[in-house]
Each structure stands twice: as C-alpha cells, then as structure tokens.
C-alpha cells in the first residue's frame, strides 16, 4: 500500500517536472523577447504646434502621495505637480531665471529684501485669485512649515535668515531676510515651490493627501483619477500665464494628459513602442540605444546640483592627509565607470557641481585618472605596498568601506568598479550595502565612513556655501568644522554675497580649492529622470530640475 502511494506520488512529481521543463524555455524566451516594430524612424519635420489630443504618460508609481510639502522630495509626483501648478519664476535647464507669475522683482538692502511684482488676473482653478495674499501664504509655509500640523518646511528653501513675507498691495509682495539671501529668487523656480490655493494650504495634512483638494493655477487641472491606477488632467481653457521663456503663454496644446500607473518597466517600454502610450518615465538605461534606433526620443535632462561623487572625511583617519585625498582623486578611472555602468546620455563630471549650473567650470584636470601619480602620492605619504598588494602604514592597512547610495541604485555598480580601481594602486575597499529603509538613520550616524556618496540637487549656487563647513550652522560635509580657514572664508563669502557677480569669483575659487584639496571626489554627472517619448510627441521642454513640461508639448 505504502509503496504504491509513494510510486504514485513519484509519478506525479515526474509529470510535474516534465511539464516545467516544457514551460521554462518558453518563459526564458518570453523575458528575452525584444520590443519589435512600432516606431516610424523619422521624426517628421516638426512644423507648427497643433491643438488637441491626449497624451498617455506611463509611470511606475506615485509613492509619496499628494501632501505638497513632502511629495516634492519624490521624483514621481513632481511630474503631475508641474502640470497643475505654476511657480513664481521659471528656471531653465541652464539655470537661467526668468519671469513667470512674478513678472519682475527687485533686490534691495544687499539682497536682504525682495519685492516681487505679480502678474494681475491670474486665478487658481477654483476661481480664487492668485494675488499677493496667496503668494504670502505659500512662501511662509515653504519657509517655516507648520510643526503644529506636522508639515515640514520645503527642504531647499533658504529659510535660515527668513523673517517674513507680506503683501504690499494685491500684486506686490515683500520678502525680508535678516542677512543676504541670493538663493531666494532661483529657489522660487524649484519643484518644491509650487503655488497652491490658500484653501488647499489651510487643509489638514489628511485632507491635503486627497488629490481632489489640490488646487493650483497651472495649465491643466485634475479631471478624474483612480488612486494607483490612472490620473487624468484636462487643459484649462482660460490659462494665459505660461512662462514667456517657453515661447508660449496661452492654453496648453494638449487636451488632456493621462498618467497610467504601470509598475513593470518593460511593460511600460513595450506599450510606448507599440503606440499604446506616448511617454514613459524612467526607462532601463541599457535599452536607450535600441529605443533611439527605432525612432524614439530618450531624454536624459540634467538637474542643477552636485554631481554624483563622494564627500570625504578630511578630519580623521587616512583621509585627513592631503596626499591620500589627492591620490584617491587620481585613482578613479571615471571614463571606465561611464562606459561600463552608464549608456549614452551620461557625462563625465567636470567639477563637483553639474556642468549646467551657471557657476560651474571645467576643473577636470584636477582629478584626471593617473594611477602612477596616485601611487607616488601614497608612497610619499608613507603608505607602502605590502606583499598582499595593499598599502600599509604603521601596521594599518589603507582600507575603505564604500556605501552605495540606495537613492541612486547605479552607485552600487559604480562602487564595485571603484573598489577594483583602488586595488590597482594598493587601496583596499569593500562595499557595505545599506537598504533604503535603513539609510536615513545610517546617514545621520555615518561619521565613521571617510568616503560618503552624495546625491543632492540645488537650484542656486548659494546651497554650496551651506554644506562645506560648520560655519553658520552649515552641514559640515567634510568634517572640517571651522579648521580650514580658507574654506570657511569661501563659504561665508558665498553666503554673504549680495550680487551674483561678486559671488561668481568666489564660486570659481571654491571649486578649484575643494577639488584640489580632495574634499569632494566627483565621479559622473547625475541623471535622475529619463523620459521616453513617442516619435509623434513634439515640443517637450525640460526645466532646471530635469522635469518635462508637457505644457508646450503637442502631438502630430
């Protein structure tokens, strides 16, 4: 009896395995199937914009929800916010600031006082006027948040010296700071500085979480949505206040934009290739060449900010030595990283800030790949090669732990390669993987890691002055405190500059100094958002924080 049942069971297992053997190759074939056909290769001569049509935009998720003070951190919601809201100024992808809802502004009292002149006649989609009072409500919330409602301030808003915002008359706003704050005007074009109706701002956080309550003044309004499925925006016919810098100020060309949530990357890509959707957010970088060869546009807009790289602990351990820091600077083969980890569309770092920042200069000669120089510097610093291929000094091995930044997943591949490149000059390095959920607490207590990955955008160069040292409550990236007087002075000069011309000179000096001292080890320029567009989509523009504007887009 028992033998019989075992035999039967065995029989069934064999049948099951046989069936799997048939299935598995099919699945493999399924996953390797390349997207086929679809795109008409030639992007027809654009011609003049046409009205109408719906653009279907595929996106992985909207993970952060719709509380504006928090969702501006996520890379996803900003795509929708940008279409339903306006900003006071427009910042282009080259960092140029131009009028939008603020038609002009004056800087007074050494950049401690700003007067904004607003465009008259602008309304939120619920009919409320976008006047000085509404702007005051917005600016005050960006600067201070509301701790009693659990609303955080807008992180990048230069609020240290913020005193107040007040309405002078219905179209004039005065904003006062206690010290020069040059970053104020450019920050008004940041994707966290979106203008919302005072009614929305007054709601509780739980009510703000409901997209229906988000009332902006943008070229589109929320028409309908099913949470987690699709979100439809409709054009606002009376919209007449677009940024003049985009060459178009009237209503949007598109009738509607439909955001569809499709979690799977390859499904999104295939849907655009098949013509079922016109845009896709964040395609697999390695698919870019194949998509472009089929006639699709893949945009990898740069944001303004710091490049992808490391901040160095210049206070303790081996990296307290200038020779070691400079050796690291020259031990990294950035070209190899670019060619191995990143496809077409990425660029080498030229400074520690992205090259589209107006103040950026090309200082790449200060950190070119030179393993011989790196080895020489290390030997001079007393780190001698041991029999195992690693350098030691006083019995201590030159050893680093690299922690990939979970917010930029490709840094893991980067760090693996860097560890190999380090080994060539006798530096030992290993990776420590910290999951996203632990990274925040890790970053708060990460003083023990001499090389720490940086990913940070900014919209104005003044942010740089606030991170270099601990002067004026700075973030002290290099653990120098106030020990490096040169850097202290440079930071203070950046922060206290009251004109951009004055600041430009300092900006140039600080870039050279930081790179020469090996305080910041740049790797490549950061790309955070990738847009795949069908060949019939025209006129898409990208702002300074690398978001696409579909306001100017049209379909042929």
């Amino acid at each position: 009896m028992i033998g019989n049942s075992v035999a039967r069971r065995f029989h069934r297992v064999v049948l099951g395995v046989a069936a799997l053997a048939v299935l598995v190759p099919t699945v493999a074939a399924c996953s390797s199937g390349s997207p086929s056909g679809g795109g008409t290769a030639a992007d027809a001569a654009a011609g003049s914009p046409k009205d109408g049509g719906n653009l279907t935009f595929l996106i992985q998720e909207f993970p952060a929800g719709w509380v504006s003070s928090e969702s501006n951190i996520s890379s996803y919601e900003g795509n929708l916010w940008g279409e339903i809201t306006d900003k006071l100024v427009y910042v282009s992808s080259t960092g140029a600031v131009s009028p939008w809802i603020a038609t002009s502004w004056q800087t007074e009292d050494n950049a401690e006082k700003y007067i904004l002149h607003l465009k008259p006649g602008v309304t939120f989609s619920d009919g409320t006027p976008l006047n000085a009072a509404a702007v005051v409500d917005n600016i005050t919330l960006w600067a201070k948040g509301d701790p009693s409602r659990g609303i955080a301030k807008v992180g990048l808003f230069p609020a240290i010296y913020f005193e107040q915002a007040k309405a002078v008359n219905s179209t004039t706003v005065e904003v006062d700071f206690s010290k020069p704050t040059l970053g104020f005007i450019p920050t008004l074009g940041y994707h966290g500085s979106i203008l919302l109706s005072p009614k929305t701002l007054a709601l509780s956080v739980n009510q703000q979480a409901n997209l229906t309550n988000e009332i902006g003044s943008g070229p589109f309004v929320v028409k309908s949505f099913q949470t987690g499925v699709s979100y439809t925006l409709a054009r606002r016919a009376d919209y007449d206040w677009g940024p003049p810098a985009l060459g178009h100020t009237g209503p949007a060309y598109l009738d509607s934009i439909t955001y569809k949530v499709v979690a799977d990357e390859s499904t999104r890509e295939q849907a655009v290739v098949a013509g079922d959707a016109q845009a896709d957010f964040n395609v697999t970088p390695s698919d870019i060449p194949s998509l472009e060869s089929q006639g699709f546009t893949v945009a990898t807009p740069r944001y303004l900010g710091f490049v992808d790289g490391f901040e160095v602990d210049a206070d303790a351990g081996p990296t307290a030595s200038l020779d070691v820091r400079q050796a690291i600077q020259h031990a990294i083969n950035r070209t190899q990283i670019l060619n191995t980890v990143y496809p077409k569309g990425w660029d080498l770092a030229e400074s520690f800030i992205q090259s589209n920042v107006p103040e950026a200069q090309n200082d790449s000669a200060l950190f070119d790949y030179d393993p011989t120089l790196a080895a020489k510097l290390l030997t001079e610093a007393g780190w001698v090669l041991g029999p195992n291929g690693y350098r030691t000094k006083g019995g201590q091995t030159l050893d680093f732990t690299l922690v990939p930044n979970p917010y930029v997943p490709s840094t893991e591949q980067e760090d693996e390669l860097i560890a190999q490149q380090f080994a060539k000059v006798g530096i030992k390095a290993q990776l420590k993987i910290v999951p996203l959920s632990d990274y925040a607490s890790f970053a708060a207590t990460s003083a023990k890691y001499p090389l720490l990955s940086v990913s940070r955008s900014f919209i104005d160069f003044s942010t740089v002055g606030g991170v270099l040292t601990s002067v004026n409550g700075g973030q002290n990236w290099f653990d120098l405190g106030t020990s490096d007087k040169t850097l202290d002075n440079l930071s203070q000069e950046i922060e206290s500059a009251s004109t951009t011309t004055q600041r430009d000179t300092v900006a140039s000096q600080v870039q050279q100094y930081v790179l020469n001292q090996g305080y910041f080890i740049p790797v490549v320029q950061q790309v955070q958002r990738i847009y795949l567009l069908a060949p019939n989509v025209h006129g898409v523009t990208y702002n300074g924080v690398a978001y696409a504007n579909f306001y100017t887009a049209w379909l042929s």
Partner: protein, 344 residues
C-alpha cells in the same frame, strides 16, 4: 492560524451536553469560536506592529531623510516627533491599539491618506480578482474531479489525476507571465495597460485560480474515491442512475463538506496569491498598497492590511466552523458519530 483553522474545523470543541440541535450548546459553541476569532485578530495586529516597529528606521525618516530633501536631521526629527514614531515601542503599541479599539486604523505615514480610504480604494480590485479566481478554480476543480472518475481510458484518468500536482507545482507568477506573453503581447486578447478590463481580469483570475484549484480538486477526488466505494452508490447504480446524475445528485454533496472546510485555507491562498498576481499583471489592489507599505515601513497601512487579512481568514474559518454542524447532521458537537473527513 492555519493550524488553528484545521484544528477548529476537525475538532469542534463544545460542552459535553447533547447535540447542537438543542440550541443553547450551539450558541455557546458559536460564542467561543467568536471569542477565539477576536483574539486571533488582535494577536495578528500586535504581532505585525512589533515585527515592523523593531526594524531600524521608520517611514518618516526614510521619506524625509532622502538627501534630496535638503532637510536637516533636526527638521526631520520635528516631523517624526509629531507622528510619535520615535516614542518607545510600548507607547506606540498602546496608541495603535487604542486607535484600533475605537475602530480607527490611523493614517499612512507616507501619503497621509487614511488607511481606511487606502484599503477601501484598493479592496474592490482585489475582491474582483479573488472572486474571479475562486469561480475559475471551482469550475476547474469540478471538471478535474469529474474527469478523474469518468474519463474514458485509465491512462486519461491518471493524467487528469496528476493535473492538481502539476498545478500546485507551477507558481502562479509563471502562469501569469505565460498568459501575458501569449494572450496579451502575441494575440492581443487583452491590453496590459488596462488590466482591469473583463478579459484582463479573466486571465489574471486564471493565473491565480489554477494553483488554487489544485488542493480543491485533490480533496474532491479523494472524497469521490471514498464515496464511490460506498454501498449507497452501488444501490443507486443498480437502480439505473446515469453517471452524470449519480455524480451530481449523490456524490457531489457528501464530497462538498470537506471542500467547505477547505475554503478557509483557500481564502488564505487567494489573498497571498492575489498580491503576487496583482504585481505580475500590474493590477491595482491590496497587493500594491501592501508592497508600498512594506518598502516604506508604513506601519499603520501594513497593520491595517494584516488586520484585514486576519479578519477575512478568521471570518471564513468561523463561517466554515459554524456551518459544518448545520450542513451535515452527522457532525456532532462533542458527541460520537463524527464522520471521517478525507483530506489529502
């Protein structure tokens, strides 16, 4: 929970006094089962809370601590303090429990929507999928069971008898990927961008229903084998009943009881499987809400979903337990005469 379910369905515990027909003992039995159910739900709620909360980090720090936010640790801590996520675990647990006792599930720490509205928004999609899958699995199980008895040819019957083992051993995501590949990408039967269309729901239900029908079919087959050997079947046959009539009138009903008791287990598999199937087919539902809650350590949302799962599981068990003595008079509460129930 599974062990408890089986124990509860096979060994109804009740006072010695008499059968259920007297009313009062059945009432006491029902009350006991209800009390057990409440305890199980509370335990699931507490356990899920403790498991998530003892992990390092929290939803607020993960969201606002993104270096892109530009917020200083002190500013992040302000918000953390507002939501109480830095309080001692026991205090947080007390807050969560007292909220739960008032019937509130709290709000998401990430999107700040109420957990109730998040679940209410996603649940219909999951119910639709699970319902479709259940229907498909019932039909499939019945077809397999019928085939196992009456398919002409011993070889054919043995093949169909091995179907449940095959179905059980192929994970539903593989079935899902195959269905998407052939029916959506190649034959364009449904559009992957509209997974909630009737055809899309059918295929997702099929992917989920196939593995689920397996244990159901096995129980049916085992019981049909058992019942076919009974004397009353021989008698019925001798009276000239057709096979189909015999199957439908005399064999299905007694074989159903163990299938009802299995419904609780199936409910669990449906819920677990629905989450994976939703991911594969890109459907909205409890699965995607849960996936995000887990990856963001969004404790209130995750607890809400665990509580919901516990409620569904316990309620289905409870119904099965309470129905069994009513369905089959031979199932007595504590008395003799319990019939053997064949399980695979």
């Amino acid at each position: 929970v599974t062990d408890l379910a089986i124990a509860a369905t096979t060994q109804p515990s009740a006072p010695e006094a008499g059968g259920w027909a007297r009313g009062r003992p059945y009432f006491v039995y029902a009350l006991q089962r209800l009390a057990q159910a409440v305890v199980v739900i509370l335990l699931a709620y507490v356990l899920s809370f403790v498991l998530i909360t003892i992990l390092p980090g929290n939803a607020i720090a993960t969201t606002l601590g993104n270096p892109q936010s530009g917020l200083s640790p002190a500013q992040v801590r302000n918000v953390e303090n507002y939501y109480g996520v830095t309080k001692p675990i026991i205090v947080q647990l007390w807050m969560a429990l007292s909220r739960f006792a008032r019937g509130q599930l709290g709000t998401s720490l990430v999107s700040h929507q109420t957990v109730t509205s998040l679940i209410a928004g996603a649940l219909p999609y999951t119910l639709k999928l699970a319902g479709t899958a259940l229907l498909i699995s019932l039909v499939l199980a019945a077809v397999i069971a019928y085939g196992s008895q009456y398919l002409p040819g011993k070889w054919a019957r043995s093949v169909i008898r091995s179907a449940p083992s095959l179905f059980l051993s192929v994970p539903n995501f593989i079935i899902g990927l195959l269905l998407i590949h052939y029916f959506s990408f190649q034959m364009h039967t449904f559009d992957v961008l509209n997974p909630d269309s009737p055809v899309g729901t059918f295929f997702a239900g099929l992917a989920l229903g196939i593995p689920i029908c397996a244990p159901l079919a096995e129980v049916l087959i085992a019981n049909l084998d058992h019942e076919t050997g009974q004397e009353y079947v021989l008698v019925a046959r001798s009276r000239g009943l057709t096979q189909a009539r015999l199957f439908a009138r005399h064999l299905v009903k007694p074989s159903m009881l163990p299938a009802v008791t299995m419904a609780a287990l199936i409910a669990g598999e449906l819920m677990g499987g629905a989450i994976i199937t939703e991911e594969v087919f890109g459907r909205n539902g409890i699965g995607s809400v849960m996936y995000q809650a887990v990856s963001n350590q969004d404790t209130p949302v995750l607890q809400g979903i665990v509580a919901l799962a516990a409620v569904v599981f316990v309620v289905v068990n409870l119904i099965a337990d309470l129905l069994s003595p009513l369905l089959d008079p031979r199932v007595r509460l504590g008395g003799g005469g319990r019939r053997e129930v064949a399980t695979p």
